[in-house]
């Protein structure tokens, strides 16, 4: 009895774990808003099984560096640049969770689930990268304009979102700022009080927190879509001071448990653009042990840069790639000519390497050619899922019918184990984060047919043993014992071929191999361990049983 109980506990534990993996959870996705065309976070509740592109529809692109206009000697670096560039544009895709990854050495894979417009997606990916350096809003022109903007917004009936806790305008979140800033803040508040709605918080500036340097603002991550939509309004655009533009940063900072996105007010005129940049290298200064990026400009670029940096010593310079500020703008310490150095202080070398990549991406835009493109419409994916599930249900029903008619009560035990098998396999897919593809769905259906093989082997063996005149209990024991080597051998050989398929295959076929491997593992557990336990319970209840329903 004790062994039965511990076996039941083990099965119950496994089942609970499996069901827990399959409970629908809230997933946050960034989706393009149909009306405004902006990205926004939405939360949906779904079973956490990843569907492949062939099931949910979308675009799969494989890109390589274009070598048609002459060979590119270092394609690995070129593709890293391209990856960096595509990543900065990630929000432009109308999809949640785009996949951008380097495959092998010189190939970039971009997968956009749910994206419907391949021409647009390809345009975004293949667009040449644009790098520019701009001075940040050193005179705080944007901040001074905030009260006016808030007033205009209030007039238009826009209310500040969320709680009134951050009711003050541009709030000091951390770090030192000049006293001037506080003065302005107070003035801003006073201006706000002049208006009719005395207690109404400022719609825009309550979202912005002053950053560490002039022109830098932090926006709480969850408020980013609100801030974006406010800043896009024409009445706000009109009030942004002449000569100033706003650019979002790529960095997400976390302060006191909240995460913030950076927003920069920068001059509308770049002091230099990427076309003058020739090279950039990240290294660690051996003397100071600090990460630095060295860059080299062309001769003409050096002259321009020398003039501009001379005028802007002690100003901050934002490095902008494709309209996104990369990292924190460094300060210009002195006049810079053809060769410059950006110091990143104690930041890891990885950050410096990333920045060097950004500079190079602007300098040497690597044109990409598409070597493989697959577009699957969402309706086709839905049809595939429907057909696959239909085939699965019919197939499983037939298997159940065969097992129960042929093996009667023992067949019922096997079918009960089969139900557990399906739950375990799906939980395995969800738990390990594997992707269910269309061939994977076929593999799942197929493996149901194969999964009962272990039980068939065992039951046939029990029948043989019973025929030899063994007692029921002995026959069951011997049946399991003797069938074991055949079960293990055959499952291992199938798993080995599936594993090779996984190593060699691409996306959809890998999905097939994975479901097959997980299916084999799950069927070993259910067919041997679970069915054995069922038998133990059964024989325990009826110790005097003379014939077995098998």
């Amino acid at each position: 009895m004790r062994t039965i109980r511990s076996r039941l506990i083990a099965i119950g534990g496994l089942l609970a774990l499996a069901v827990w993996q399959l409970i629908p959870t809230d997933v946050t996705q960034r989706v393009r808003d149909a009306t405004t065309g902006r990205m926004k976070d939405t939360t949906i509740r779904r079973v956490p099984i990843n569907l492949g592109l062939d099931l949910q529809g979308g675009i799969h692109l494989a890109l390589e560096v274009d070598q048609s206009k002459g060979p590119v000697p270092d394609c690995a670096t070129a593709i890293q640049l391209a990856e960096k560039v595509v990543r900065t544009r990630i929000d432009e895709f109308g999809t949640s969770e785009p996949v951008v990854q380097i495959q092998g050495r010189c190939r970039l894979i971009v997968e956009l689930a749910g994206e419907k417009d391949p021409a647009r997606a390809k345009g975004i990916i293949q667009r040449t990268a644009f790098l520019e350096f701009r001075i940040t809003d050193m005179k705080n022109l944007f901040r001074d304009a905030l009260p006016e903007i808030d007033k205009a917004l209030r007039r238009a009936g826009v209310r500040a979102p969320g709680q009134g806790a951050a009711a003050a305008s541009v709030t000091q979140l951390f770090g030192a700022d000049t006293g001037k800033a506080k003065g302005k803040t107070a003035k801003g508040k006073a201006a706000a009080k002049d208006t009719t709605e005395l207690n109404a918080p400022d719609p825009l500036s309550s979202l912005l927190f002053q950053g560490q340097l002039p022109g830098e603002y932090l926006v709480p991550e969850e408020q980013v879509p609100v801030a974006e939509s406010l800043l896009a309004r024409p009445d706000v655009q009109r009030l942004i001071p002449r000569g100033i533009e706003l650019r979002w940063g790529t960095e997400v900072l976390s302060r006191a448990g909240r995460s913030y996105r950076t927003l920069y007010a920068v001059e509308d005129r770049p002091i230099i653009t990427g076309e003058y940049l020739q090279d950039a290298k990240a290294l660690r200064d051996p003397l100071t042990n600090q990460s630095v990026v060295n860059f080299v400009l062309s001769r003409g670029g050096g002259r321009i840069f020398e003039r501009e940096t001379g005028r802007h010593v002690t100003d901050y310079m934002a490095i902008i790639l494709d309209g996104r500020v990369q990292g924190q703008p460094p300060v210009i310490k002195s006049q810079i000519g053809q060769r410059g150095q950006i110091e990143l202080g104690a930041k890891p070398l990885q950050d410096a390497q990333d920045l060097a990549l950004v500079l190079k991406a602007g300098a040497l835009p690597a044109p990409l050619t598409i070597i493989e493109e697959r577009t699957i419409g969402p309706s086709l994916g839905r049809d595939s899922i429907r057909d696959g599930i239909r085939a699965g249900i019919v197939g499983v029903a037939l298997v159940v019918l065969i097992m129960v008619t042929y093996y009667r009560l023992s067949g019922v035990l096997a079918v009960a184990a089969l139900a557990l098998y399906v739950v375990f396999t799906l939980a395995g897919l969800a738990g390990f984060g594997f992707t269910l593809t269309l061939p994977g769905l076929a593999g799942l259906v197929l493996s149901v047919g194969i999964a009962v093989d272990a039980n068939v082997l065992i039951f046939e063996r029990i029948r043989e043993e019973l025929q030899h005149g063994k007692l029921v209990r002995t026959a069951v024991d011997e049946g399991f014992l003797h069938a074991m080597s055949a079960i293990i051998d055959s499952n291992v050989s199938t798993a080995l071929t599936a594993f090779i398929l996984y190593l060699v295959g691409t996306g959809p076929v890998q999905g097939f191999a994975i479901t097959l491997i997980i299916g084999i593992a799950a069927s070993m557990i259910t067919a041997i361990f679970v069915v054995r336990t069922f038998y133990m319970i059964w024989l325990d209840r009826r110790p005097d049983m003379a014939t077995l329903s098998v």
Partner: protein
């Protein structure tokens, strides 16, 4: 209680020559056809463009061909695909223009505009459900990968079998699997199925499944060799096949239930995969009985095993082995012997 083929005593091995004839009749013409015409590779392997379109009403392949001809797109294959109002247009890259990179993409766009001109604007008059454009380089890589996959699966299973069984068993099982690959290629050629990576996946799964079946029989042979020391290999093979027959029928029945459900219901994309898997059940069963088992016999005859179970395998029944083998594991020998005498 339903019992199928219980206590059967068919002399399977006797019919082996007929079986060789049958399998040769399948493989040889199929292979001749394969050598002459090749296989119908999907664009994943050849490189090219595939476009699946859906029209509100069935328009017929001629109408679509007319639209493409008018736009100067020749050599495109047009095929009704699944539903009567769905069509697949395939344009493979010929050897000649393989060097032109990026041409596959422009083909897709050209087909789109040709359809728009002939059928009317996109969302109302036709809908593109799926586009695949594969460059020649990717296709060549995939060919290499598919070949590697089949090659390595052979090596790995051979090694596994060598560890778990004796090499004679392993060799027989691998040759039987090789036979299965040949018949499957012939089958694919007869039905002119499109060979995609998923179909290669089906062939590999078939390798595993067929091997699985052979292993079940060989496992029983191994066991019976220990049990019945007086019988020759011919008898033992027949006995083992007969003993495992109910299992084979049942397992193949359940697997077939799922593959046939996939063939009928799972849609056009998975159909070649499901057909190959269904065929795999037949060829796997056949080869386990008629290829693997007789081969094991020949191998034993050619290279008799040194150990007890091999040494007396084909000698006259009843001869006493020089070195008495270790005691047989499990199973009372008296009742077993009575059964074996049948």
């Amino acid at each position: 209680m339903i019992r199928l083929f219980a206590n059967a005593h068919y002399d399977f091995i006797k019919w082996r020559r007929w079986a060789y004839g049958l399998t040769a009749a399948i493989i040889i013409p199929g292979f001749a056809l394969f050598l002459v015409r090749g296989l119908n590779y999907s664009i994943e392997f050849t490189g090219g463009t595939l476009i699946q379109v859906q029209t509100p009403e069935p328009v017929g392949t001629d109408r679509i061909r007319g639209a493409l001809d008018a736009a100067g797109i020749r050599d495109a294959e047009i095929q009704q695909f699944g539903a009567p109002n769905e069509y697949v247009i395939r344009a493979r890259i010929g050897r000649a223009d393989a060097a032109v990179a990026g041409s596959t993409e422009t083909t897709a766009a050209a087909v789109d505009s040709a359809l728009a001109r002939s059928l009317g604007p996109a969302p109302e008059h036709y809908k593109i459900l799926r586009t695949e454009a594969v460059g020649p380089k990717v296709g060549r890589e995939l060919q290499g990968k598919a070949f590697l996959a089949i090659f390595f699966s052979f090596i790995v299973t051979l090694v596994y079998l060598a560890v778990r069984f004796e090499w004679r068993f392993g060799l027989a099982a691998v040759l039987a699997t090789f036979h299965d690959i040949l018949t499957t290629i012939a089958f694919i050629r007869y039905l002119d199925l499109e060979v995609s990576l998923v179909v290669v996946g089906a062939v590999l799964t078939m390798v595993g499944y067929s091997l699985n079946d052979t292993i079940i029989i060989f496992d029983r042979v191994r066991e019976n060799l220990r049990k019945f020391r007086r019988q020759n290999l011919y008898e033992i093979l027949n006995l083992s096949i007969n003993e495992t027959l109910p299992r084979s029928v049942l397992t193949h029945g359940t697997t077939m239930a799922t593959t046939v459900a996939l063939v009928v219901l799972a849609g056009e994309v998975l159909r070649p995969f499901a057909l190959v898997m269904t065929f795999a059940i037949f060829t796997g069963t056949f080869s386990s009985i008629y290829i693997a088992a007789p081969l094991l016999m020949y191998i034993e005859k050619r290279w008799p095993g040194e150990d007890a179970r091999g040494a007396r395998a084909l000698r006259a029944a009843g001869s006493v082995p020089l070195n008495p083998p270790p005691a047989p594991g499990g199973g009372g020998s008296s009742e077993v012997r009575s059964k074996a005498a049948v």
